[in-house]
C-alpha cells in the first residue's frame, strides 16, 4: 500500500481557471487548493472548514483514543498544506485527501501496540462477509447500562466501532467523505466489486447490530 499518494490524476475540474477574487464557498476543492498554493490563505480556510468534520470523524471512528485521532488528523492536514504548492488538480480532492488519511491510518496502526489486534481484525476482514462478533454477555451488560438512555445514534456509533476494519472504512468513506463506490475502491486500493460488497455487508451488519442494541428492528 502506498503511503504517499500523488495528487495527480485526471479530473474535469482541473480545467477551471483560478478566479482572482471569488466567492470561496462556490469554488471547487481543486480551485481552492490552487488558490492556496498561489498564496491565498482564505482559500485554504474555506477548504479546511469544508472537510474538517468529515476527516476528523473518519479518524475518530477508527481510533478510539481522541488525542491520537487528532494527531493523525493534524498530520494529514499538514501534508495537504505542504503539498499545496505542488498540487496538480488531476484528482478529486476528497479522493486524494481520504487516500492520504487511509494510508496514514494503516501505517500508524501498524506501528502501535494495538497492531496485533488490528492485524487480526484485518485478517478477518479479508472476507467481505465478516460480521460483528458481539458476545451475548457483553451486549447484555452494555445494553443494561444504557437501556434507558441510549439513543439510536449512539447505538449506531457503537455498532460502527464494532464493524470489521474494511467494512468500517468503506462505510465511513461513503458517509463521511461522500465518496462513490468507485472512489472508495480507489482509496482502499481494491476493486469496485470488493468495495461494493464491503459496503453491503457493512450496512447489513449495522442493521443487525442496531436491532440487537436497541431491541427493535430498524426495518
Amino acid at each position: 500500500m502506498n503511503s504517499n499518494s500523488s495528487p495527480n490524476a485526471n479530473i474535469a475540474e482541473s480545467t477551471q481557471p483560478i478566479p482572482a477574487s471569488a466567492d470561496y464557498q462556490q469554488q471547487t476543492d481543486a480551485v481552492l487548493m490552487l488558490q492556496y498554493g498561489a498564496g491565498d490563505l482564505r482559500a485554504f480556510e474555506t477548504l479546511y472548514n469544508r472537510h474538517k468534520g468529515g476527516l476528523y470523524r473518519y479518524f475518530m471512528r477508527h481510533i478510539p483514543e481522541p488525542s491520537l485521532a487528532e494527531d493523525l488528523y493534524q498530520d494529514i492536514w499538514n501534508k495537504v498544506i505542504v503539498q499545496a504548492i505542488h498540487y496538480q488538480p488531476s484528482a478529486k480532492f476528497t479522493t486524494w485527501l481520504y487516500t492520504l488519511a487511509h494510508n496514514k491510518l494503516v501505517d500508524h496502526v501498524r506501528h502501535l501496540s494495538m497492531v496485533n489486534k488490528v492485524l487480526v481484525g484485518s485478517q478477518d476482514d479479508d472476507t467481505a462477509e465478516s460480521s460483528i462478533d458481539l458476545k451475548p454477555r457483553q451486549i447484555l451488560n452494555e445494553a443494561e447500562s444504557e437501556i434507558n438512555s441510549v439513543r439510536a445514534a449512539e447505538s449506531l456509533k457503537y455498532c460502527i466501532a464494532q464493524l470489521p476494519q474494511a467494512q468500517k472504512d468503506s462505510f465511513l468513506l461513503k458517509e463521511e467523505a461522500g465518496l462513490s463506490v468507485k472512489d472508495i475502491a480507489a482509496v482502499l486500493n481494491t476493486s469496485f466489486e470488493a468495495s461494493k460488497s464491503r459496503l453491503r455487508y457493512a450496512y447489513e451488519n449495522l442493521r443487525q447490530c442496531l436491532h440487537i442494541k436497541t431491541g427493535r428492528a430498524i426495518l
Binding site: 490563505l41 480556510e45 504548492i85 453491503r200
Partner: protein
C-alpha cells in the same frame, strides 16, 4: 442476502438508506468537529507554509534570473567579440591574398610576361642562324654524312645519314646543337630556318614592294608610337617585324635585284637584319 454486484451502479437499499439517514442525523446533532485549538494550529501551519512558499518562490525566481543571466553572459561575450573577430579575420584573409598574389597587384606587366611569354616571343622565335650555318658546313664537311642538296626553291635539303656509329654520333651532336629553344608552343609554328622560309614561300601570297614599303612605314610608325602602352606596342610591332622579315626574305628570293634599304633595316631587329643579309648573300651566287 447476497447483493447484486454485476453492474457498477450502487443504490442503497431501504434499510441501508435508513441507516445512512440515521448516521447523517447523528452527525449533525452531535456536531463532532475538531477542537478550536486544533483548527488554529492547522491554520497557523497553513500560514507559516505560505510564507515559506513565498520565500521559496522568491528564491526560485532569483535562481532562475541568475541562471538566465548566466546563460546570457556567454552569449553577450560572444556577441561583443564577434565584430572585432570578423574584422581581424577579414583583414587577415585580404592580407594573405595580397601577399600571395602581390605580383598581380604591383606590376601587371610581369603577369603578361610570365603568363603569356609574349614579350620574349621574338627571341624565342628567332633561330640561331649563324650557329645553324656553321653546323651545316660542319655536317657537309663530314664524310660520314651525305648531304643531298635539292633545288632550293622547291625542295628542302635532305640529309642521308650513314649507318656507321660515328656518323650517328655526329648527327646526334649536330641535331642537339641545331635544336632551338622550343619551350614555347608558339615556336613550333614559324620555323625560321631556310627550309621553312622556302617552304612558307610556297604558301605565302606574293607581296609587292609597295606593300612591303607600306608595312615598313607602318612598323616604323608603330615603333614610334608613344601613346600606346609598352607591352602592346612591343607585341604588335614584333608581329609586324616578323611579317616584314618573312616577306622580305620571300621577296629577296624572287627578286635578286632587290636591295635592302634603310627603310627596312631600321625597323627590323639586329638579328633579323643579319639573317636577311646572310640570306641575301647566299641567294645572289645561287642565282
Amino acid at each position: 442476502m447476497k447483493p447484486n454486484n454485476r453492474d457498477e451502479s450502487f443504490d442503497l437499499l431501504a434499510h441501508e438508506k435508513k441507516i445512512s439517514e440515521l448516521y447523517q442525523y447523528n452527525k449533525e446533532q452531535q456536531g463532532e468537529i475538531p477542537r478550536g485549538q486544533v483548527d488554529s494550529e492547522i491554520m497557523a501551519m497553513a500560514k507559516q507554509q505560505l510564507s515559506k512558499n513565498t520565500s521559496l518562490l522568491t528564491q526560485d525566481h532569483k535562481h532562475s534570473q541568475a541562471a538566465s543571466a548566466n546563460k546570457n553572459a556567454p552569449a553577450k561575450t560572444l556577441k561583443a567579440w564577434q565584430w572585432p573577430f570578423s574584422l581581424v579575420a577579414s583583414v587577415g584573409i585580404l592580407g594573405i591574398l595580397f601577399i600571395t598574389q602581390r605580383d598581380y597587384f604591383v606590376d601587371p606587366l610581369n603577369i603578361i610576361a610570365r603568363d603569356a611569354d609574349i614579350v620574349h616571343e621574338p627571341d624565342m622565335l628567332t633561330p640561331n642562324f649563324i650557329e645553324a650555318e656553321n653546323l651545316t658546313e660542319e655536317i657537309a664537311a663530314d664524310p660520314a654524312i651525305k648531304v643531298k642538296q635539292m633545288k632550293a626553291s622547291t625542295q628542302k635539303p635532305e640529309m642521308m645519314l650513314d649507318e656507321n656509329p660515328l656518323g650517328k654520333e655526329r648527327t646526334a651532336e649536330a641535331s642537339k646543337r641545331m635544336s632551338f629553344r622550343q619551350t614555347s608552343k608558339v615556336l613550333h609554328e614559324p620555323m625560321l630556318d631556310y627550309s621553312t622560309l622556302e617552304d612558307n614561300s610556297l604558301h605565302m601570297s606574293p607581296i609587292s614592294l609597295a606593300d612591303l614599303s607600306k608595312l615598313a612605314e607602318l612598323l616604323k610608325l608603330e615603333l614610334t608610337k608613344q601613346n600606346m602602352s609598352e607591352v602592346e606596342a612591343r607585341a604588335s610591332s614584333v608581329k609586324m617585324q616578323q611579317t616584314l622579315f618573312e616577306n622580305l626574305v620571300q621577296y629577296q628570293k624572287s627578286h635578286t635585284e632587290f636591295t635592302l634599304t634603310d627603310q627596312y633595316l631600321s625597323v627590323l631587329t639586329e638579328k633579323q637584319v643579319k639573317q636577311l643579309k646572310l640570306a641575301f648573300t647566299e641567294a645572289v651566287p645561287e642565282n
